[in-house]
């Protein structure tokens, strides 16, 4: 397994795009959060927004970079035919996929931590500058407080799970353009579907099974009782998605010719 990891790490490290994608992940996440935080202002009626969601808003944009990174780790090899060399050198296909997953997860966790914590710190400063409060006389949460820390750490895990979900889908679909289309469709379209259906029962169910909505429930720090799914259960839903994708992708990788 160590040799597998080493091989995958070497491949990913020496591909030109990886560094740019990780940089893009950090930049897009922070930029998205800054824009969202700067755009929010409180009305006289109070601050209706969840400060954690706003200051971590960029995750919704930055996740695309994590998805590309993961998709390219697999479908890039199919594009060039490198996959045949890879599988000839390492015939245990499950181990190859596991090694790819480990390397991609590690990179995403690293870049995600930087991105998320930078967003949280900068976003909080901007929100405080806008006069954002939780209520009369209560300042918004700092990173040292439980719910905010959960939101931040959860967002890092969220990014890693998105990468794993994308990896599994790429292993199943193989073509890069199709894989990225499927991933983004799954994330964004399923996230908007509940807003298109008026029936409250369906709305709630669709919200609960959507990987993006459920996964991002981890960012909620206010009105928790009103959420269709609790923060950690939401991240659990995303974990199930990622696991299912990896399992499906792994099975197909083992069954099919490369």
């Amino acid at each position: 397994m160590r040799r597998h990891l080493h091989a995958e790490w070497t491949k990913l490290r020496t591909v030109a795009g990886t560094g740019w994608l990780l940089l893009g992940l950090v930049t897009l996440t922070v930029a998205g959060s800054v824009v969202a935080a700067a755009a929010v202002s409180c009305t006289s009626a109070g601050c209706d927004y969840d400060p954690a969601k706003i200051s971590l808003f960029g995750v919704q944009v930055g996740q695309t970079m994590a998805a590309i990174l993961a998709v390219l780790a697999v479908s890039g090899e199919y594009g060039t035919g490198m996959i045949r060399t890879t599988l000839a050198a390492m015939p245990r296909r499950a181990a190859v996929l596991a090694a790819k997953a480990a390397v991609v997860t590690g990179l995403t966790l690293g870049a995600g931590t930087v991105a998320v914590f930078a967003s949280a710190l900068v976003g909080r400063r901007i929100l405080l500058g806008n006069g954002f409060t939780r209520g009369p006389g209560t300042p918004i949460l700092s990173l040292a407080e439980g719910p905010m820390l959960r939101a931040a750490f959860g967002s890092v895990l969220y990014l890693a799970l998105i990468a794993l979900l994308s990896l599994g889908i790429a292993a199943a679909v193989r073509d890069s353009a199709t894989a990225i289309g499927v991933v983004l469709g799954l994330l964004y379209i399923l996230s908007i579907l509940p807003f298109m259906i008026a029936d409250p029962g369906w709305q709630k169910l669709l919200w609960q099974i959507s990987p993006m909505n459920a996964g991002l429930a981890i960012q909620a720090t206010t009105k928790l009782s009103g959420l269709p799914i609790s923060p950690w259960a939401g991240l659990g839903v995303l974990t199930v998605w990622a696991a299912a994708a990896l399992l499906g992708g792994g099975l197909l990788l083992q069954r099919r010719d490369a």
């Binding site: 824009v35 969202a36 755009a39 929010v40 202002s41 209706d48 927004y49 969840d50 969601k53 706003i54 808003f57 919704q60 944009v61 695309t64 998805a67 590309i68 998709v71 390219l72 479908s75 594009g79 073509d175 890069s176 353009a177 199709t178 894989a179 990225i180 289309g181 983004l184 469709g185 964004y188 379209i189 996230s191 908007i192 579907l193 807003f195 298109m196 259906i197 008026a198 029936d199 369906w202 919200w207 909505n213 429930a217 909620a220 009105k223 009103g226 959420l227 269709p228």
Partner: protein
């Protein structure tokens, strides 16, 4: 010595050349089974998701919803106000002095179940004088009025509004209002002292019969509360509000029917026991009249809009983007691009032919999908008891054809991005991030409405504005947020932004294609 003539190609240049290029690109598209299937799938998914979301929408009224009145211009209207009126035959005029406008507004409950009502009038509370075709809801009218915070206005037929002098009314500064009728022409005047009159505006009410109703009215739309949804989007709720205006110095000219004023609570909601829910009122004492009204005389925005049946377009768009990108990147991957450029050495024209081919194919698929989605979606919505806001055939056509153009322009944009990047993943991501993601962030996220509006002005997602069928009215207070389906740009302007982006990136791609080795 014999001179050999230089070789001349027998192929004709000019237009015939472009038609050949176009045919070549069409053949390339047609013969890749995956792309054809994907385009069919894009159309199908657009229709099916639209139908799914339509079938999930049920009306909230028990049984059959009451019929919604329709105004003279064909739009659904709210026509609910208190009207003390008398018949007028032929030409004439009415003049009044308004000395006060007061009211009450219900605020959001602090403790559930406890009503919180304060004195005051909402900005668009209105009271004044009116000439109305008949007492039927939705019939033609013209009115001059004072409003809560928008000064004197002249409005007619629900959607037309002209501003007069700003400022409110009080005992110290009353407002005189006059409305004269001459055939189908109605003219509104206002005055501060009853001596010097200023014209506010005129209205032409086509087909106004000789016998009309003239009188005093009052109405107050509900107070609007927009709450940010806990998991994105926003919802608007209307709270009860009423307005009371006091009139005196009422004078009528023309052949006005004799007898007393007839009070009518037009369109009042009835409780299950038959009594009026939030009734208005009319009091008369010694030439002073007090009219209290609840409701509004304005275009209606509650109800299903036809574009609600097109929610599947977003998913179809993703598929279209993937196909359009691969239409060019697959050539780079397989090396076919070198053959293509050898056959069509004028690279700009070759790429334009490619764009035209994918644009046309997408347009046709999009047109079929949008037509089916709107046609069947409306039937499903109606079957579920929903009220669909009526629009003109032209508007419906604009929504359907515009959606097809939206998809085609996005396909051209995606193709151009693909030609620029030459890599599928980067191109697909870029195309999705600039078209689909801004739309989702603007309509279904925790992003505040102002930020959402900017996204829909500046990004290619502005093109979705072409789907808005119900316009925003400046004289109606509503939740005109992107999450409610209202775009910051006019329909064609929004589509122009998207087409502009597509043309710009295509131009860039042509420039780069000419410069670079393939």
């Amino acid at each position: 010595m014999s001179a050999t003539a230089p070789y001349r190609s027998g192929a004709r240049a000019g237009r015939g050349g472009f038609a050949r290029l176009l045919r070549a690109e069409w053949t390339k598209f047609r013969t890749v089974r995956g792309w054809v299937l994907a385009m069919v799938a894009a159309a199908l998914v657009t229709v099916l998701l639209g139908l799914l979301s339509s079938s999930g929408s049920h009306s909230s009224c028990d049984g059959v919803c009451p019929a919604v009145p329709v105004g003279p211009d064909g739009e659904a209207v709210e026509d609910k106000f208190y009207f003390a009126h008398r018949p007028l035959a032929g030409d004439g005029s009415i003049t009044v002095r308004v000395t006060s406008m007061t009211g009450q507004i219900r605020l959001p409950d602090l403790n559930p179940g406890t009503r919180r009502v304060v004195a005051g009038v909402v900005p668009w509370a209105k009271a004044g004088i009116m000439v109305k075709e008949s007492m039927k809801q939705g019939s033609a009218y013209a009115a001059v009025m004072v409003t809560g915070r928008h000064g004197v206005r002249m409005q007619h037929n629900f959607i037309h509004d002209t501003a007069g002098r700003p400022g409110g009314v009080s005992k110290q500064s009353p407002r005189w209002l006059r409305l004269t009728r001459s055939g189908e022409e109605l003219t509104g005047y206002e005055s501060a002292d009853g001596a010097n009159w200023t014209e506010v505006g005129t209205a032409h009410l086509a087909g106004l019969p000789a016998a009309v109703q003239v009188g005093l009215f009052a109405a107050s739309p509900g107070g609007l509360t927009v709450t940010q949804g806990d998991f994105g989007g926003s919802s608007a709720a209307s709270r009860f509000a009423e307005a009371t205006a006091v009139f005196d110095k009422v004078s009528l000219r023309g052949s006005v029917g004799g007898g007393a004023w007839r009070p009518d609570d037009v369109g009042v909601t009835l409780n299950p026991d038959g009594s009026a829910h939030h009734p208005g009122g009319f009091k008369e004492s010694g030439g002073t009249y007090s009219v209290t009204g609840v409701g509004d005389i304005a275009p209606l925005s509650d109800g299903q809009q036809i574009e609600n049946t097109l929610t599947g377009v977003l998913t179809g768009l993703i598929v279209v983007i993937v196909v359009a990108v691969m239409f060019i990147t697959a050539e780079y991957r397989s090396g076919l691009i070198r053959t293509t450029l050898l056959a069509g050495p004028r690279r700009g024209r070759t790429l334009v032919a490619k764009a035209l081919a994918i644009g046309t194919v997408t347009f046709i698929a999009g047109l079929a999908a949008a037509t089916a989605a709107v046609t069947f979606g409306k039937q499903v919505l109606r079957a579920n008891g929903n009220h669909i806001l009526p629009v003109t055939t032209l508007t419906e056509l604009r929504v359907i054809v515009g959606t097809a153009v939206l998809l085609a322009a996005a396909a051209v944009l995606a193709l151009a991005v693909g030609a620029l990047f030459r890599r599928s993943v980067a191109a697909v991501i870029t195309a999705i991030v600039v078209t689909v993601v801004p739309y989702i962030l603007a309509t279904a996220s925790v992003l505040p409405a102002d930020a959402a509006r900017w996204l829909l002005r500046l990004t290619p997602a502005a093109g979705f504005a072409i789907q808005q069928s119900i316009p925003e009215y400046a004289h109606v207070l509503g939740d005109y947020a992107p999450s409610a389906g209202y775009y910051p740009l006019a329909p064609w302007a929004g589509l122009a932004v998207l087409c502009g982006y597509a043309a710009l990136v295509l131009g860039l791609a042509v420039f780069q294609l000419r410069r670079r080795d393939a």
